[in-house]
Symmetry: C2
Subunit: 289 residues, 2 copies
């Protein structure tokens, strides 16, 4: 801090107060919402000591999450849907590896959503989504999701304002039905800055080991950064609900992004009061020969 | 008519006025609804000449429907979902054969819904339903449907009033989403009398050719006739909407049942202003060698 050298500490600007964690959770639809209120470089979950400590914390959490997932699988009263959204390079793949990578593939599944196939386009846009919903005891992580259907078509102008509003309502209704039938829903918006994206895309161009992740179309999407941010803001404002809240995750720091998501997941799973089902009394004391 | 012999026609009771066809279509959710207002032996669509004429009319309609289905398939702007519900022996299988039997299996599909499998029970109750929704240009006929999920569990007491109300809302929302994404929905309640069911069940017991359709559990369900009728009434009252109306079909007469459903289908398809897509101009006049 340059002002550390100031002779009179009384005139130093006070450090901005860290917003509470609740600031990052949107639980109710609202008329408007601004991503600009969130600093992509903020670290609301960090312990402030340093990156190495945060990394160690993520690793510990990932192991705790593995144990919790095992319990979730045995308990079977719930299903868990995790939605990862964000601009290109915002870290959706990295989250999958860093947060969910320790869990057993038995109970954790993931779908990376691409452009719909011909058969999928022949149905409503939630048809392919519903098919992939987790079953009892399962965790499903969506890398992109049905929210793409209120992003790309909106920015490209393929659907008008009326259709967009209809889709927001469909999604709210769909997620409510899922929640009321036992699905816990966590939606994460991985929030990066435009400059951070520039650096990460440049790395993908320059680094042969990352080149496979680069697509020229990413540059086209980047040109419409502001339009996509606005579409995200409208979608988040319209689809944040008590049963399927949006979590805004500052994601310029990959470590902090994983830390925040892993913490939220752990809290959510602990809040479910998961239990191993009690065994059949008739089996107690049975001798296995 | 016995009263034809009355010497004084002035004192004869006037024949009850036939209710208009709109009486049989429920297009709005309402607080209550009574099946008792519908005579299962009524023939609102018959021409009143006789059964043979009605049978011929059904056959003509079935052929017209085949042509319309072909056009529907080519047009591809819509999907059509037909739901057949009704008590045991109400004629769901017979409708499939009599009304849809002339159509090409290419564009017409049917699902006979049974008790859910273990995998299906692991998901929300609309999961298996959504998977089977028709694609563009397709007609899907459900023999039973998601409405079973607000009948059996209600009568058996597996779900309480709050859960039942939630399911009504889920179904309304689900069907609205389908309608807003191009699915035309027709729901038919095949309405038979308890006495007609008795005769038909007895036939299944007595006739070796029909015995395979008889299940002892049908008798258990029959004992709870009034409870099932009440559950139907509540479900129809709660889920009749402009985008997915219920059609009450007097079904003691099999021929009239088919006639009414076939007429309604024809009207619906004609109302869509279906067209063969215009060919690619570049292909006009191409010489096939």
């Amino acid at each position: 801090m340059p002002s550390d050298n100031s002779p009179d500490s009384a005139v130093r600007p006070r450090p901005r107060r860290k917003p509470p964690l609740s600031h990052y959770v949107i639980t109710r639809a609202r008329s408007s919402f601004s991503l600009g209120a969130y600093d992509p470089a903020a670290k609301p979950c960090g312990n402030g000591i340093g990156k190495a400590e945060d990394k160690a914390a993520v690793e510990t959490l990932a192991q705790e999450l593995d144990a919790l997932q095992n319990l979730f699988y045995a308990d079977r009263r719930y299903k868990l849907l995790v939605v990862l959204q964000g601009m290109d390079t915002s870290g959706k793949d990295g989250t999958l590896r860093g947060v969910f990578g320790r869990m057993s593939p038995l109970g954790v599944h993931t779908v990376g959503w691409k452009a719909p196939s011909a058969e999928e386009r022949d149905h409503d846009y939630l048809w392919r989504i519903h098919r992939q919903m987790p079953g009892a005891g399962e965790i499903m992580v969506f890398n992109r999701s049905h929210y793409e259907d209120v992003l790309v078509p909106v920015v490209e102008g393929w659907i008008d304002a009326r259709q967009t509003a209809q889709r927001y309502a469909h999604i709210r209704d769909f997620e409510r039905m899922l929640a009321e039938t036992g699905t816990v829903i966590l939606k994460f918006m991985l929030h990066i800055s435009k400059e951070e994206q520039r650096q990460r895309l440049q790395e993908r161009v320059d680094d042969p080991a990352k080149h496979w992740k680069f697509q020229p179309s990413d540059l086209e999407t980047r040109k419409r950064w502001d339009e996509y941010q606005a579409a995200y803001e409208r979608a988040i404002a319209a689809t944040a609900t008590p049963w399927a809240p949006w979590h805004i995750v500052p994601a310029d720091s990959k470590t902090h992004r994983n830390l925040m998501i892993a913490q939220r997941l752990k809290q959510t799973l602990l809040g479910l009061d998961l239990r191993y089902p009690t065994g059949d009394p008739a089996l107690m004391g049975v001798k296995v020969e």
